[in-house]
């Protein structure tokens, strides 16, 4: 390689780094400006909405899509917010719980899916769903850095924080899906007539569940759970942990071990995974893991009776 070729190569590499660095910062700060105004949608809107109301509501719900679709906290208190978000787990929830103001009295309901706690492959990567707040929210940034799920490139290319979310943010910026001021975070699942047929096929399908062979608690999940426990001990809040119903949960050993763990940790845990096991009513379900709006209302009514004394 002659010196002319070497200098050309260096020029391309250095120019590419410099130009991409500049574009990256323009995109990042531009997206920050836009995304801060977005209060709808799961790309960032619901997270923004949560951060804006988290210290002013009386009841907060954390969890995944099952929490989002199953728990209507408004039945417990009109001043509530359900922060259930698709595809997330204990790492995401633990991080957001630790952003709460410890001095404010609140009821915090944390939805638990026990399978995450017995999944050897669980690495806490659901925390990456908070990357839109990386370098912009101190508490979240600190958790993300401790989690080792942030790429080293992310410290150079900040726009990676918006990976996979750009179109969703732009869409909700230009055309919000709903009026967030009247939204409490709970999204009941309605089943249309055309979906009923598909739902019935899904429920009748005799799927074999792969129950976890390992019945030892995943240390990463346990660590995040302990962070919530630690936070609960220092705060004025009451915490309730709950597993909502499954259509046919064939794996029960994990539930028992998890319930024992929660007792040992001194945390209030309610396992309702089999609540509707004897009900032969498909209308309670959207699919095998999600209740329909009707099922969610039935569950919420039952659940409220259990926790109303704590509230």
């Amino acid at each position: 390689m002659d010196s002319k070729t070497t200098s050309k190569l260096l020029k391309i590499v250095l120019l590419s780094i410099a130009i991409s660095f500049v574009i990256d910062k323009v995109v990042f700060f531009g997206m920050n400006k836009i995304s801060d105004k977005v209060m709808t949608g799961q790309a960032i809107g619901k997270l923004n909405h949560f951060l804006s109301v988290k210290d002013s509501v009386d009841v907060l719900v954390f969890g995944n899509s099952r929490a989002n679709h199953h728990i209507n906290a408004e039945e417990l208190n009109p001043n509530s917010f359900n922060n259930g978000t698709d595809g997330i787990s204990i790492a995401y929830n633990s991080t957001l719980i630790n952003t709460l103001d410890k001095s404010i009295k609140q009821l915090v309901i944390v939805h638990i899916d026990t399978k995450n706690f017995f999944d050897d492959n669980y690495k806490g990567t659901d925390i990456r769903s908070l990357k839109t707040k990386y370098l912009r929210n101190d508490s979240i940034t600190s958790y993300l850095e401790q989690s080792n799920t942030i790429s080293i490139l992310q410290n150079f290319y900040y726009s990676m924080n918006y990976n996979g979310n750009v179109l969703g943010i732009l869409k909700n910026y230009l055309n919000p899906s709903y009026n967030y001021k009247t939204y409490n975070g709970y999204d009941p699942l309605t089943v249309s007539e055309s979906q009923e047929k598909m739902r019935d096929i899904v429920l009748s399908k005799d799927s074999e569940q792969n129950c976890s062979e390992s019945l030892s608690i995943n240390p990463i999940a346990l660590d995040y759970l302990k962070k919530i426990k630690h936070f609960s001990e220092e705060s004025s809040k009451r915490f309730v942990f709950v597993t909502t119903p499954f259509y046919n949960d064939q794996c029960k050993a994990d539930n028992k071990i998890f319930a024992t763990l929660m007792t040992e940790l001194g945390l209030n845990y309610f396992d309702y995974s089999d609540l509707f096991i004897s009900e032969n009513d498909n209308s309670l379900w959207k699919d095998k893991t999600h209740l329909s709006a009707r099922g969610a209302e039935a569950f919420t009514t039952y659940f409220i009776q259990e926790v109303k004394d704590m509230y």
């Binding site: 120019l15 991409s20 290319y157 996979g164």
Partner: protein, 469 residues
Amino acid sequence: MLFNSIEYLIFLPIVFIIYWLLNPNYKNQNALLLISSYVFYGWWDYRFLSLIIFSSFLDYFVGQRIEITEDQKHKKRWLLVSLCSNLGLLALFKYYNFFADSFAITMAAVGWDVNDLTLNIILPVGISFYTFQTLSYSIDIYRGQIKASRDIIGFFTFVSMFPQLVAGPIERASNLIPQIVSKRHLNATLIKTGLFQIFIGLFRKVAIADNLGVYVDSVYANHEIHNGSTLLVATIFYAFQIYFDFSGYSDIAIGSAKLFGFNFNRNFNFPYFSRTLTEFWRRWHMSLSFWLRDYLYISLGGNRKGIVITYRNLMLTMLLGGLWHGSSWNFVIWGAIHGIFLSLEKYTFSTFKIKTFNSFGYIYTFIVVLIAWVFFRAEDFNTAASILSKWFTLDFGSLFIGNINTFINALMLMLIGLSIDLKVFRSNVALEDYGSKFSTVKLSIIVSVIIIMLCLFYSTTENFIYFQF
């Protein structure tokens, strides 16, 4: 080591710098390439390096025996040693369980229960690719088309050169060995075209293919609950997922090789812009299709032994080509569909004395390819049959979108990928040469934009579809 990993981002520049510091001593450069190729492969599983080393030793030795043996019978015997050993290893690691299973099912059908004969065998990554590469070397020497290599390091480098080791392109000895045993040069054109192709390849793989895969996987995992419309869209997405995945991989491989002064053969040439299936196979996975043509179809007699033998050869080539992709009857059916339509085309062309179809040929070709992809993607025959039955019974309804964000991302990126393809296709400049069109500044801007697009749209899927083959 994966091309889309941080490890490769560090590995490539380190090897590149040391490599050019060793210039102009190409023998030392080859030694470095060989060591780094073994590191590259061993990163995945160092145990299987022994297979590559064995294949390399075998063909290095056999190649020389074929060349120096004057008696035709003995030449043939040495060739058979190479064929049986290489194909034997491939059969053991890739097809043993398939044939053991098929045997047990056949025996059960006639009332004889056979105990489970399958073994717990791991498929070594890249075995199908480097086996074909070493086979072509021995066959070319047997045919007198090339000379046997006397440079052991150079030959081992030919077999295991890291950019093409695990998923091709399947390089011919006639193209690569002469480059390996001569001094190489890096010029501005190679740098520009190489870097451009690496970044385009990364975009195709990491942004387009992986995002399409999210929707495809979710639909195919629950195919029974979806209607024909959803399955059709998922299969169209799959057609582009596999194209952008594999062509993206090839782009990174070819681009990386250019940075070391090597020119690999082209592997994809916009296959979906084909008016016939025959043309499709001249544009899709070219290094494999030309390999099958030159070493299987022609060895079987090609089109020189009458019309019936020609069609038989075509069908056999496509059936074995299908089986090359994996040990499953679905791949055989995939090959059969292509074989049948290629034969029909051949018949049509010879009967009506035409060379290609009109513009409707684009649609016809895509439909045939799409139907065949169902067998390629589906878990088993029943799944594929169920999907096709929904199409043919017109079981269409409203489209399942799933996560709207995922769907729109995938659709938008696919359209961007197709637009880039269309632009390059219309320019009549090969993608492999396209980077040379740009000035240094313009190329840097293009690379920067691709980097930002990758930051915003990369997907975290870690594997390449063709690794399983």
